[in-house]
């Protein structure tokens, strides 16, 4: 049963990839410009450069996104649960979140570069901040809307506050948390690209922009493929996590 589902999914992914490549190929034929190499050129450049040039950049980018996602989750989830379940905290924080949430955090890049330096920290802080808000708001809203009967019934078993978080609030909000992580991943990748194009010589974003400015379009596309695959891999990881942790949703 699960095997069939997995095969089905792999088939869908394969179909998607083929359609994408065909489309790409046609487009490269039509445009006929060195700025858009054919898929074959791009992929052969990707495989050629993978271990030598791409891997070091990928590793550092992966580290930046991974750590950011982790920190944002560790901070955003407990805080979101707490705010969603505490009227006072909610009332206090709601206007603050309301005002700061829509502000694109990337505008603070120059400030962070000045304050935190051009190393990894400024980049990680910026990516973390962006996803943190998303996770915080999603978790808070999920916790707010939790039917109070769940809480009552477990409370009546004489559960304390910690046990409520463990058995009710957290598992109830987990599907929403994982959804926000998946959305957050897409945003994190964009922010990653942006922060890696300034004041750094490491990371896949740098590699892409550097290849671009030296007109090495096949190298540039190798970098784009690498970045795409990295996002896809992380997405699959989250997807698998959801399947394991929230199996009850899919009944």
């Amino acid at each position: 049963m699960q095997k069939i589902e997995l095969m089905h999914k792999s088939f869908n992914i394969l179909t998607g990839v083929i359609i994408l490549i065909v489309f790409w190929y046609l487009l490269s034929l039509i445009l006929n410009t060195p700025a858009l190499p054919t898929p074959l050129t791009a992929f052969s450049s990707f495989f050629e450069l993978f271990t030598s040039e791409l891997m070091p950049h990928l590793t550092i980018s992966f580290y930046r996104v991974g750590v950011s996602l982790l920190i944002a989750t560790v901070l955003g989830v407990p805080l979101g649960l707490f705010i969603g379940k505490n009227k006072k905290a909610d009332e206090f924080s709601a206007p603050l979140i309301y005002i700061t949430y829509p502000v694109p955090k990337v505008v603070f890049l120059p400030i962070f570069l000045i304050l935190l330096g051009i190393g990894n920290i400024s980049k990680i802080v910026l990516i973390t901040l962006t996803i943190f808000y998303l996770i915080l708001v999603t978790t808070r809203d999920a916790a707010r809307n939790l039917p109070k009967e769940y809480v009552l019934s477990v409370k009546s078993l004489r559960a304390n506050e910690f046990e409520l978080y463990r058995h009710v609030y957290f598992p109830a909000c987990l599907p929403a948390i994982l959804t926000s992580l998946r959305l957050g991943l897409g945003i994190a990748m964009s922010v990653l690209f942006l922060v890696e194009t300034y004041a750094t010589q490491e990371g896949i974003g740098y590699f892409i922009m550097n290849s671009w400015s030296s007109l090495a379009y096949d190298k540039m596309f190798a970098g784009i493929i690498a970045m795409g695959l990295m996002g896809f891999f992380l997405y699959l990881l989250l997807d698998a996590g959801e399947k394991v942790l929230c199996s009850w949703i899919h009944l």
């Binding site: 009552l152 019934s153 477990v154 078993l157 058995h167 009710v168 009944l251």
Partner: protein, 249 residues
């Protein structure tokens, strides 16, 4: 000696900057091992009353004694709700074991007791299912199992069968009666359903509109009699209840 006694209970909620009473001067008592049923209009404070008895709401005035203890001190009560009582992210097994886990029973003891109660209630084959994979009746049986595994003395049930279809509902009423006959449980059950009140309630309490208080107490010898559902007295009691409820509007 009454197992449960409530005297001059009063509760208010703060709502829209004003304090609205939900229960007013409510008194009732229930002997050990009996079934009491509360019937009354929507929003008259029935759930509020049960939350007090379950120790979830301590903001009340008046006297509430369960086996001579305050609801907060008494950990022999169990609360069963109409819906959402079971956690959808836990299997039957984990839902039933939850109370034991919370009360600090050892892993081994939890397994033994959970298995025992599931077998006793004929639910063991459902142990790996999630609530979404169960019928409404099965879910309520499991909710009852989760309460019983803690060996409570007082079972508080808030419209437990309201969301079930008519047939499952009667099945559950029979199921509850059987359980009750085998044990020494005292049960306080809330219902909207007049027949259910007459079938289950040895004592029937009619509540007024909000702020709720008891306006009629009825001793009902027909309770628990399986053959009563067709009897003429059953209809008479039902009709008398119906008219006192109608009198409210």
């Amino acid at each position: 000696m009454d197992y449960l006694s409530i005297e001059s209970l009063q509760i208010s909620y703060a709502q829209d900057n004003q304090i609205t009473p939900a229960l007013k001067d409510l008194s009732l008592s229930l002997p050990l091992g009996s079934i009491g049923v509360i019937i009354g209009p929507s929003g008259c404070g029935k759930s509020t009353l049960l939350s007090v008895l379950a120790g979830l709401n301590q903001n009340y005035q008046g006297t509430v004694l369960i086996n001579n203890k305050s609801p907060k001190e008494c950990d022999a009560t169990a609360l069963i709700l109409q819906e959402y009582g079971l956690l959808p992210w836990k299997t039957t097994w984990d839902n039933v074991g939850l109370g034991l886990q919370i009360r600090g029973f050892s892993k081994k003891e939890t397994v033994i007791r959970t298995e025992q109660i599931l077998n006793k209630l004929g639910l063991f084959h459902l142990r790996k299912r999630y609530p979404a994979q169960l019928s409404g009746g099965q879910r309520q049986r499991i909710a009852i199992a989760r309460s019983l595994v803690l060996e409570p003395e007082l079972l508080l049930m808030d419209e437990p069968f309201s969301s079930l279809d008519a047939l499952s509902r009667e099945e559950m009423q029979d199921f509850l009666l059987e359980l009750w006959q085998e044990t020494n449980l005292t049960i306080l059950l809330i219902t909207h359903n007049i027949e259910e009140a007459v079938f289950l309630g040895q004592k029937i309490f009619v509540m007024s509109e909000c702020p709720g208080t008891i306006i009629k107490k009825l001793s009902n010898p027909l309770a628990g009699d399986y053959s009563a559902r067709g009897k003429i007295e059953f209809l008479e009691t039902s009709n008398s209840l119906r008219s006192s409820l109608r009198g409210l509007n």
